[in-house]
């Protein structure tokens, strides 16, 4: 979904919305000192660039025409000073612009990341991780680069154009006006080409991402391709894609290959005009040699800044879409927010006031709860459930019946659209989100680990735990055996997302993580796919340990987990249709009975087989 969204964005050619750019540029203006230095240095450099031809003019008119070397040493010193100044200026502006670029991207990312920590799950449900990554990494990078360097280029180019125009007008206004007639067509053509080129580049990027996708699919599906004997067909489809890529890339290249020569040609018309009219004036003595040389230098160089300005404008336009996406991410409203009163008492997610927190016992009650996902059908209607502190609840039922919704409501990842969820007898909206979530443990169907060592991961919920406590937790869920087998024991790096460990091992670590955090309320989304038997046994045992002494909700798939629960709830169509212990439910001969006889029977067979 995310990539489809991206592709649409590529083709958008939107009008430049200045308010968005104003907001982005404000990030740069936070750094007043650096931006001021940058602006001043840039203007000075442009002025120096304008002075060089004037220096040559002076040299020609004074030394060459005057046939003297008197004053040449002074001239040399002055010239070298200019060079030194310019060299230093260039260093300064590159470094300052780089600094601003990095500061701006740092700030936007910081703000974006904080926002992402606050956004509710309804946002995450409809936004792919890849999409967010693209916004936070490449879009922000591109925008801050543009913001910093476009200030540089735009200022330099504008100062240069204005300065050169002024210098020429002062030197000889008639010749200047004549030469300057080249600028308007130059600007128009530059703008036209820049826009066109950007359009083609976008198309190239789009095709390129399709090629990457095709490679990805070709490699991931290689086995299936083989069994279906699809090699030839896939290859011919791929060839079409690369053929298209070649065609589009060449078109983009040809377009930019045409651009520079045309700009240069227009520039040379200026030089030609200077040489023609200026040369004439030199002959009749109304123009000095030096001035002619200065004119020639100026005309040879001024196509550069003009096309640069065109380039920046075109770029602004093409980056409009990225700018909007980034700003809208930062501006996304949070759906679940604590009231000001709650924040005043309990603190927010970043600065909690733990001293005011009541201890959670773990009693959970759903009171006439209705819930619907945004723009979707109602998942729960007038749902009521009372769970005593310490009780274990197993939820069974088909996909989409509402099991995950119930769990998400308990965690306050979502809030009820109607009704209340009470924790220890009080609506949880009267306390802060962090108050609840700090006492929550959650093990996902596909366990998620963070890169870092095994010990870091176990310590995730309680950073101050001692090594001994970490080990005790690991031992409790039988994770220590495999941990000690790792190369560096507890200090083994798990790799990004825990890639170096098996699913079962990751699961055990996430149980140890819960044990160490010792939450009052525990949520387990049990895995459907089975893992190797030995680990499976360990996990079963670990689950039993984790469930002790806390209120637990389990989206259950395994026979043993379900059987051991205090209460089993069969959820169908957002309602509790059956409720009771394993035996009680079997006696009902209802849905649970059917489920047990079909699904779980197979599991029994599996157990023997392994």
């Amino acid at each position: 979904m995310a990539s489809a969204l991206l592709e649409q964005d590529y083709d958008k050619d939107v009008k430049v919305d200045l308010s968005i750019w104003k907001r982005l540029f404000q990030y740069a203006f936070r750094y007043k000192k650096n931006t001021t230095i940058l602006i001043v240095i840039n203007i000075l450099i442009a002025i120096v660039d304008i002075i060089y031809p004037l220096m040559s003019r002076y040299a020609i008119d004074t030394f060459i025409e005057g046939e003297t070397t008197k004053g040449l040493p002074f001239f040399v010193v002055l010239y070298l000073c200019l060079i030194a100044f310019q060299a230093f200026g260039v260093y300064l502006f590159v470094a300052r612009a780089g600094r601003i670029e990095m500061d701006v991207s740092y700030d936007i990312r910081q703000e974006g990341f904080r926002k992402l920590q606050e956004l509710s799950f309804s946002f995450y449900d409809k936004t792919a991780v890849g999409y967010l990554m693209a916004r936070m990494v490449s879009d922000v990078g591109r925008l801050s680069e543009m913001i910093a360097w476009s200030i540089v280029d735009l200022l330099w180019a504008l100062t240069y154009v204005i300065g050169v125009t002024a210098a020429m007008l002062v030197l000889n206004w008639k010749l200047a006006l004549l030469v300057l007639t080249v600028i308007p067509p130059l600007a128009v053509i530059s703008m036209y080409f820049r826009k066109k080129i950007l359009k083609y580049q976008r198309r190239v990027r789009k095709t390129n991402s399709r090629i990457t996708g095709a490679f990805n699919e070709g490699i991931m599906g290689a086995m299936t391709t083989k069994t279906l004997v699809r090699e030839e067909a896939n290859y011919s489809e791929f060839r079409e894609l690369t053929g298209e890529m070649r065609k589009t890339s060449i078109r983009a290249a040809v377009l930019s290959a045409m651009f520079m020569p045309i700009v240069m040609f227009l520039g040379s018309i200026g030089t030609g005009l200077a040489l023609y009219r200026g040369g004439h004036a030199v002959l009749i003595g109304t123009l000095t040699w030096g001035t002619l040389s200065a004119f020639i230098s100026y005309t040879m160089n001024f196509f550069e800044p003009v096309q640069q300005i065109a380039g920046i404008l075109a770029e602004l336009q093409s980056a409009q879409a990225s700018a909007e996406r980034v700003i809208s991410l930062i501006d996304t409203p949070c759906e679940i927010v604590d009231t000001p009163e709650v924040i005043a008492k309990y603190g927010d997610s970043f600065n909690p006031k733990r001293e005011n927190w009541e201890r959670i016992r773990g009693e959970v009650e759903f009171k006439h709860v209705s819930f619907a996902y945004k723009g979707g059908e109602k998942v729960l209607t007038d749902f009521n459930l009372h769970v005593e502190a310490g009780e274990t609840i197993a939820l069974v039922g088909e996909t989409g019946a509402g099991k995950s919704t119930i769990v998400n409501l308990v965690c306050r990842f979502y809030e009820p659209t109607e009704g209340q969820v009470l924790i220890d007898g009080k609506d949880y909206r009267e306390r802060s989100q962090l108050w609840l979530q700090d006492s929550l443990g959650y093990v996902l169907q596909t366990p998620h680990l963070f890169s870092g060592t095994i010990a870091d991961n176990i310590r995730y919920g309680r950073k101050d735990a001692s090594d001994e406590e970490v080990r005790a937790a690991a031992r409790m869920v039988h994770a220590e055996d495999f941990i000690l087998k790792q190369e560096h024991g507890y200090d083994t790096e798990v790799g990004e997302g825990g890639v170096r460990l098996s699913t079962g091992e990751k699961q055990l670590i996430s149980f140890a993580r819960v044990i160490l955090a010792d939450p009052r309320i525990f949520v387990l989304d049990e895995a459907t796919s089975s893992i190797d038997t030995e680990t499976e046994q360990l996990i079963q045992d670990a689950i039993t340990k984790v469930l002790q002494n806390r209120t637990s909700f389990i989206v259950a798939h395994r026979l043993s987990t379900i059987r051991n629960a205090d209460r089993i709830l069969v959820i169908r169509g957002g309602k509790i249709t059956e409720s009771g212990t394993h035996r009680e439910l079997l006696n009902l001969h209802g849905y649970y009975y059917d489920l047990y006889t079909t699904q779980f029977r197979e599991e029994a067979a599996n157990e023997i087989l392994s």
Binding site: Q110, I211, K463
Partner: protein, 612 residues
């Protein structure tokens, strides 16, 4: 990526270069030709200015070659031109026009060449990756391969389109400039060129050294992305443990690290640009100062001085870039080496006579052994026969060799000993495409391509009518499910579309396989995510559909197993039991143990029900 770095070949494989350049060489040559034309035209511009200043406007002799001068004299020489200065202006514009047109052609041909090479490389890689043996894909990382096929190809493409001719261009420019300048005034020429080698060498050395900082900045960015990715993917865990604040702290560290490392890099760049600007401008200034002295002493004309300064101005930039290009030169070699590594893996070969016999479905395993390495047998002396139309069920624990057994039949691996015969022909003698087309297989975790469900099902027979697809989907009990989707059969699935559940995927894959109309079918635990009732319905529909199909089913479900004509029980790669349901029940063994447990379960239900 890490593994890639370790094994990267550093020696250039010229055969690969030749293969990649095939069909593009002439464009490169044409590009080089027009490049030279452009360089010459570019140098004519200042020459025209110089000629105008010295000869037309001034009173000096021209430094143009005698032949050109004679031609100009025949037009009326200085006096004529003085009356018509526009001719000089036009000549100047003409030079730029020729330069511009040649530059355009050069870039066009270079684009043709570089895009051609990129296309050839991409196609070669893709086709190669489709045709390497099955085993290869089990041991490589998708990310690494995709990375190589995209970024490394891009590095090579960029090298050809930007760097290769840049080197030629700079060398040509320096050569032409040398020729003109030395022919006019040797001392001036020396003065004008003296700092250029320093510029080139210093930028070369600089970019070599700064590369480390580039890597540091790249790595910091990678870390930043990884941290972000991890946070987003694990957002539930973060919230459930209330770790937002620590996450922000963690991210801040990465964010600041990337900022500081990149800033250090730009600072180094700033020093470089500043310093090299200083050298470049000093070179121009030197030319100017010495030139002025020469002009004043009458040893150089004003026009030539202007020409020298423009030439020097034209040279400093490319010479500076040359150092950078040379410093980057190694990158393309490394990239090509990484691609070469992929391409040097041998493609799947025909071990035998590659015949295409008619296949009816008699399958015979004769003392088949198989092991991924020679010491450890996955399968050991397996022998059995399946007649056309029979259903063979395979039962065994994880790692008992079930999957290997059916993969051998499709010849995704070769037997290490023994042989498999289909209708009496050793499968090693059957052409692999023909063999696989006649054996339909559904994997436990099937892969769907990212296209519509319709296209996925008729993948092997794109010309099939929609009704046929619907019929196959009905047999696989997935037609109603598909119809319930908003876009029905036009729903796009896979990476870029809707995610189907495991059971739905399996059923779509079954429908896809049915379109193959193969005489031999294999279900590799491919209904594990489908509930038992649907499973039974699918099997019943299959039976009706084709009577003569030989079917292999890997399953744990006794209900599935008991219907088979022959049940194979595998343990640690050995065929420990085989027979029908009744026969196996009579023997003491794994099969009976499972059946007993299932019965026990039923008893338990009965008693629990009775307690009520």
């Amino acid at each position: 990526m890490e593994t890639g770095k370790k094994h990267t070949k550093t020696k250039m494989n010229w055969k690969l270069v030749a293969r990649a350049l095939k069909g593009s060489t002439r464009y490169l040559v044409l590009g080089a030709v027009f490049l030279l034309v452009a360089v010459v035209a570019a140098y004519c511009g200042p020459l025209v200015t110089s000629f105008t200043v010295d000869y037309v406007l001034g009173e000096e002799a021209s430094s143009l070659p005698a032949a050109v001068m004679r031609w100009i004299d025949s037009w009326g020489g200085r006096d004529f031109l003085r009356g018509n200065i526009w001719i000089c202006a036009l000549a100047l514009i003409g030079c730029t026009a020729v330069n511009g047109f040649a530059t355009y052609l050069r870039r066009r041909y270079v684009a043709l060449a570089s895009e051609g090479v990129a296309m050839t490389l991409r196609n070669t890689l893709y086709s190669h990756l489709e045709n390497v043996p099955y085993d290869y894909h089990k041991h490589v990382s998708t990310g690494d391969l995709v990375q190589r096929c995209t970024s490394d190809v891009e590095t090579v493409r960029r090298f050809i389109s930007v760097q290769l001719l840049e080197i030629v261009r700079t060398v040509a420019m320096v050569a032409v400039a040398c020729y003109i300048m030395f022919s006019i005034e040797v001392r001036m020429a020396l003065v004008s060129m003296v700092l250029l080698p320093i510029l080139c060498v210093s930028s070369f050395v600089y970019f070599r050294r700064v590369r480390r900082q580039f890597t540091l900045s790249d790595e910091a960015e990678g870390k930043l992305s990884a941290t972000l990715q991890e946070n987003l993917a694990g957002v539930r865990v973060v919230r459930a443990f209330g770790q937002q604040r620590d996450e922000v702290d963690k991210f801040t560290v990465c964010n600041a690290d990337f900022r500081d490392k990149t800033f250090k890099l730009t600072q180094m760049m700033g020093i470089y640009w500043g310093a090299s600007d200083a050298v470049g401008y000093t070179q121009i200034a030197l030319t100017l100062f010495v030139g002025i002295a020469f002009v004043v002493r009458g040893e150089l004309t004003l026009g030539n001085l202007m020409m020298f300064t423009s030439y020097v101005g034209m040279l400093t930039w490319p010479v500076r870039q040359l150092g950078r290009v040379l410093a980057d030169l190694g990158k393309a070699t490394v990239s090509l080496g990484r691609l070469d590594e992929i391409l040097s893996v041998p493609e799947e070969e025909e071990p035998g006579r590659a015949e295409k016999p008619e296949i009816r479905g008699r399958v015979q395993f004769k003392d088949v052994c198989f092991g991924y390495d020679t010491y450890d047998d996955v399968l050991h002396e397996i022998s059995f026969t399946a007649e056309p139309g029979q259903t063979i069920a395979i039962l065994g624990s994880t790692g008992s060799g079930k999957t290997s057994l059916v993969q051998l039949l499709q010849r995704l691996y070769l037997c290490t000993a023994g042989a498999i015969y289909i209708d009496g022909t050793n499968i090693n003698d059957i052409e692999h495409g023909h063999l696989r087309r006649n054996i339909g297989i559904v994997l436990q975790e099937p892969f769907l391509y990212s296209r519509t469900i319709m296209d996925n099902i008729r993948l092997v027979r794109p010309e099939a009518a929609e009704e046929e697809v619907h019929a196959a989907a009905r047999v696989a009990a997935v037609h109603d499910v598909i119809e319930s989707f908003e876009q029905g059969y036009d729903t796009v699935v896979g990476e870029r579309g809707v995610t189907l559940s495991g059971g739905q995927k399996q059923r779509v894959a079954i429908a896809r396989m049915l379109m193959q109309n193969a005489p031999i079918l294999i279900f590799d635990d491919s209904m594990s995510a489908v509930d038992t009732e649907t499973d039974a319905a699918i099997r019943a529909a299959l039976k009706k559909r084709r009577e003569h199909t030989t079917t292999f089913i890997i399953s744990h479900r006794i209900t599935t197993l008991c219907e088979a004509d022959n049940i194979l029980v595998l343990e640690h790669g050995r065929l420990v039991q085989q027979g029908t349901h009744a026969e196996l029940l009579a023997q003491d063994g794994l099969y009976r143990r499972i059946a007993e447990i299932q019965n026990a379960l039923e008893d338990e239900l009965r008693t629990e029900g009775g307690e009520a």
